[in-house]
Structure formats: structure tokens, C-alpha cells
Symmetry: C2
Subunit: 326 residues, 2 copies
């Protein structure tokens, strides 16, 4: 672990690919005071990145900008070896093309200094699938951000079969150090966690449009004016925990378990085994911590009030109105 060293010692980062995601990472790294070396074969890469950083900077200034961060501390390179020379970390965000990623990872492995961790922004492939052309592969990690990476805190971190656990730990620690909310997964799951959840909702929505059960506007409004008003501060599990009243998730599962099978979505529910029941209930109890049911209700209400005031001031949409599928 010579060069890899402490996450505090990182000074220079290579962003491999500077599209929406790679460019978004570059903006974030700059805001956190790093020097960024960008590899992108496109002749317009520099111009596009300038625009992206210019657009992102005001938002970064509001939240995560460090004193002394230099908006212009980046260079673009078309030569990969040049781009990764002297860097302490690599964030790869090339297009989602498996063959391209495989070749790119082999190239990266041969030009990067030993022990530099190489993280991929992929949302579609596992590291085991992507690192097939790499001889060692123990330093290749998935670090999956959410768009835009300069604003959304979530990063899902997971290794492949050949990845060294220390490389996963290093990446998780580094992202945490720079202010991200890290979910470290101990196994590769297609779509990771957030995309699986998001996709389930999205597919149900497509089915409803397909069957004429709801319009695009109705689907969006059913979220923005409904459960979406809780999800930024209470996730889906804690939301259901609260829906169980003072009995919480245990009450929900023990009493409404059977209705889990009702046809409320096209996604079939799992069997509610004792083990699943307990894992879910325990998780909610841990999440609640010292907060009583009443504390959570008051927190939820304060959150919704603040959120509704916020969305009223933000949105340009027309006031609430009746509509129809017709």
C-alpha cells in the first residue's frame, strides 16, 4: 500500500471520461480542492467541461466548496498514460459499453502507478464482468454516483471477485472523506441498491402508462405531492415504520403482512418469513435509535412543512388542480 497511502494525502485525481457523470465528478473534485487530470478523446471535451463546471460551481459554492478550491485546476489529455501520471486516484466514467470498459481497464492497469485505486462510475456492470482483461485487478472498485455527482451525496461502493478488500475500504474511506454518503456493499448486485429501487418504481410507472391507467403527469404528481414529500428525510423503510403507528414496523408486518400479496403492483412480494420479518423490524428499530414514535412523527411533520414551503418557492408549475386521464 505504498502510493495508495492515506486518503488525506490525495492531491491529484484522474477523471477518465468527461461526459455528464465524469464531468460532474471533476467539478466535485475541484470543489474539494483537488487537481484534476481529465482523459477524454473528444475534441470538444475541454469546452464541454468548462460549461459543465461553470454551471455547477454556484451550486457547489452553496454546499460543498472548500476554501481555496480552484475552479481552473484541471487539464485535458488525449493520452491516457499522460492523464494518469502522478495521480493518487482514478475515477472512470466512460460510456456504458462492456467491451470498451474491458479494454480501458486493461490499459489503465498498465499505465497507472501500482496501488493507485481505480474506481468505475458504472451503473450497469459488475466489476467482475468488467475486469476480465486485467491481470491483477485487485485495485479495481465500483464507485457508483448519482446524477449529478457534484450534488447528490450517494456513492455505492463494491468490489469484484478479484478486488482486494483493502481497495474497497480505501475507496469507501476516500469518498467519505470528501463528503459523500457511502453505501458499501459486500456483494455485487445488478443495479446496486438505489437503481434497483428506482427501477422498480419506474417499471411500474411504464406498465401503468402502457395500460392507460395513469398519465405521465399523474405519475409524477402522485410522487411529488405524495410520498416524495417524505423520502428526502425518511426513506421507504422508516416511512413504513411510521405508518405502523406506535407499534412500528413490527405492527405493520404482523398485521398487514397478508395484504403484502394484494395486487398493488406487478412486482410479486417475497414470502414474509420470520427471518425477513425480524431483519426488517430490527433494522427499523436501529434506524429509529433514541427517537420515539412521537419524535419521528414530529420530525416527519416538520420536514413536510419545510419541504412544501420549499417546493412552493421553487416550482414554476401551476397550482394544484383537478385533472383526468381523458
Amino acid at each position: 500500500m505504498s502510493r495508495r497511502g492515506n486518503v488525506e494525502d490525495v492531491r491529484t485525481i484522474a477523471c477518465v471520461g468527461a461526459g455528464t457523470i465524469g464531468g460532474g465528478w471533476a467539478a466535485y473534485f475541484l470543489a474539494r480542492g483537488y487537481t484534476v487530470k481529465v482523459w477524454d478523446p473528444s475534441p470538444e471535451a475541454g469546452e464541454r467541461l468548462t460549461r459543465l463546471i461553470d454551471n455547477a460551481w454556484p451550486a457547489l459554492r452553496e454546499l460543498d466548496l472548500l476554501d481555496g478550491a480552484d475552479k481552473d485546476a484541471w487539464t485535458v489529455h488525449t493520452d491516457l498514460a499522460e492523464a494518469v501520471e502522478g495521480v493518487d486516484f482514478v475515477q472512470e466514467s466512460a460510456p456504458e459499453d462492456l467491451e470498451l470498459k474491458r479494454r480501458l481497464f486493461a490499459d489503465l492497469d498498465s499505465v497507472c502507478a501500482p496501488d493507485v485505486v481505480i474506481a468505475s462510475s458504472t451503473s450497469g456492470y459488475s466489476m467482475t464482468e468488467m475486469a476480465t482483461e486485467v491481470t491483477g485487478g485487485d485495485r479495481f472498485v465500483v464507485g457508483h454516483p448519482f446524477n449529478p455527482p457534484y450534488l447528490i451525496p450517494l456513492v455505492e461502493v463494491v468490489g469484484g471477485e478479484k478486488t482486494a478488500p483493502e481497495a474497497v475500504t480505501w475507496a469507501a474511506d476516500f469518498y467519505t472523506f470528501i463528503g459523500k454518503s457511502v453505501i458499501r456493499m459486500d456483494r455485487e448486485v445488478p443495479g446496486f441498491i438505489a437503481n434497483r429501487l428506482q427501477e422498480a418504481l419506474w417499471r411500474e410507472a411504464l406498465h401503468m402508462i402502457d395500460n392507460g391507467e395513469a398519465t405521465v403527469d399523474q405519475i409524477d404528481r402522485s410522487i411529488t405531492d405524495g410520498p416524495g414529500l417524505r423520502w428526502p428525510f425518511h426513506g421507504p423503510m422508516l416511512t413504513f415504520h411510521l405508518a405502523g403507528g406506535e407499534g412500528g414496523m413490527a405492527h405493520m408486518l404482523d398485521h398487514f403482512g397478508p395484504s403484502l400479496k394484494s395486487p398493488w403492483t406487478r412486482l410479486t412480494a417475497p414470502e414474509l418469513t420470520e427471518q425477513l420479518r425480524n431483519a426488517t423490524v430490527d433494522g427499523c428499530q436501529t434506524a429509529s435509535g433514541e427517537r420515539s414514535h412521537r419524535d419521528l412523527v414530529l420530525e416527519r411533520d416538520a420536514g413536510i412543512v419545510a419541504l412544501r414551503k420549499l417546493t412552493q418557492s421553487l416550482t414554476t408549475k401551476a397550482p394544484a388542480q383537478s385533472d383526468s386521464v381523458a
Copy 2:
């Protein structure tokens, strides 16, 4: 339509059932200046409702309270005929028990003045299933709120087979008049719209817990620190429209359509027919209105910035940190 009259002329409302949902409706109706007559057979109903209204009132004062609203303008009745006497609208929120609802609706039909619209808060049953014991049934409508009804704007409105379209229109108009965001559905769909979407996400989450792929905390954080930061102001459809860059939803579906079949959730995707593609694209174009791609991006970023500042000030949770399934 004699008594039903204009939605502006409603003065008194009966809340049938005063649990979490019925009591939440009562609090909202009081805040909007109505007199509320509560029917609830429980001897503790009055005390429980006092507590609920006391808890809700500060939040109502922040958002929807009308001048002159009287927090104490309610009475509790154990006799149904007495409770609905002289009221202009009935909101039923009895427990989710089909037989109970069927009997209750027959009773309500016999004691309510003709033409008074009777709306049910049910989340689980269709009006066609519930109104079987009612002779006419043309005034029975579903008006499905979200918890807590005194804060969440969404109300899904739909009739049953026997419901008169004018009764559905009246209910939709009334909810809109009192400040709700109404989604009027033209057919009965189990779980309506928001619950179908919410349930798909919830079931995917249960599957992940069941398979040891994610913990409760990871699931909640993957939403609160990820897509949940967009959903209060851009619903899932507009979020994907934006993810398509300047090409929007058309680009998304035309280019990433095939990956719709990738195993990112246990919910199978629909066939991406030309018709589904066009309905989805057109809906997003309508939703975007005059807003350009750049307008939407700036709106999204301003929203996330404000939202993250808000959640930082609201939440009592620990700062972002690395974790593991172990």
C-alpha cells in the same frame, strides 16, 4: 343535485371514523374553516382526536390554515344518523375491512340526506367492491388521501361502477377547492397510482433484505441521499426525462430501451411498444412545458441545494459515513 350544490357552499362535514386517517382529515377540514361532526364508536375517540388535532395544528398554521378556522368546531357522535344530520359532505375513514365497509355504506346511504356525496379514504378496496349493499350507490366515491392527510396534498379520486360521474366531479372539485392536489382516475386500479408505485419500491426493498443484498439502513439511505433528493419537485418521469440530457425521454427510450430488460429489479418491464414510447415522450414534453433542458437542470440543482440544506437542518441523524452489510 339539490343539496349537493356548489363546493363553495359546504359548511359542515361528517368524518366517519376518527383514527389516524379520519382524525387527520378532521384536522384539515377544521383548518379550512369547516364544522366537523365525527362518528366513532370508541369511547376514547374524543380524547384521541383532541390529541391529534393539538399535534397537527402548529403544522397547519404554517401552511393551510384559513383565518377564522376554529380548532374546536367539532363534536363526536356514536349515533350515525345524528353524526351525518345536516352535513354537506361525508368522508369515511373506517378500518380497512371489506364487510365492515359494505355494512357501513348501506347504513350511510339510508341516513344521509339525498345527494350528499360520500367519499371513502380506503387504500385497499375499489368502490365497486364496497358499494355492493347500497341500493343506488351513485354518490359513493373514493377520495384516497396520503398520511398525514392534514399535510400531504395528494388525493386520488375515482368512482365505482355505480357512481355517477357528477359525484366524482363534485368530489374532485371540492378537494381542489380546499387546497388538495387531486388526481382524478377514470378507472379503478388496485392501490390507485401512488400506492402502486410506492409498493413496487417497497417490495423490491423487502426482496433485497430477504436476500441479504442490503440492510434497512442502506435502503433508506440509498433513497434519502440519492433519488429522494429529486422526487419532491421532479417526479420519476421528469427525472428520467432529464437523465436523457438534451434529447430527453425520447433519447432515453430510443437508446436505452433495450437495457429496460436488464435485471435491475425483480419487476419485469413492459414491452417498449411504439405507443408506450410515444405516450411517455409526449407526457414528458407536456410536463416540461416552456422549460428548456437547461431550465430543468438549473431547477433541479436549485432544488437539490435547497433540499440538502433543509435536510441538514432537520435531521438528527449522524453525518455521512461508510458502512457495510456485515
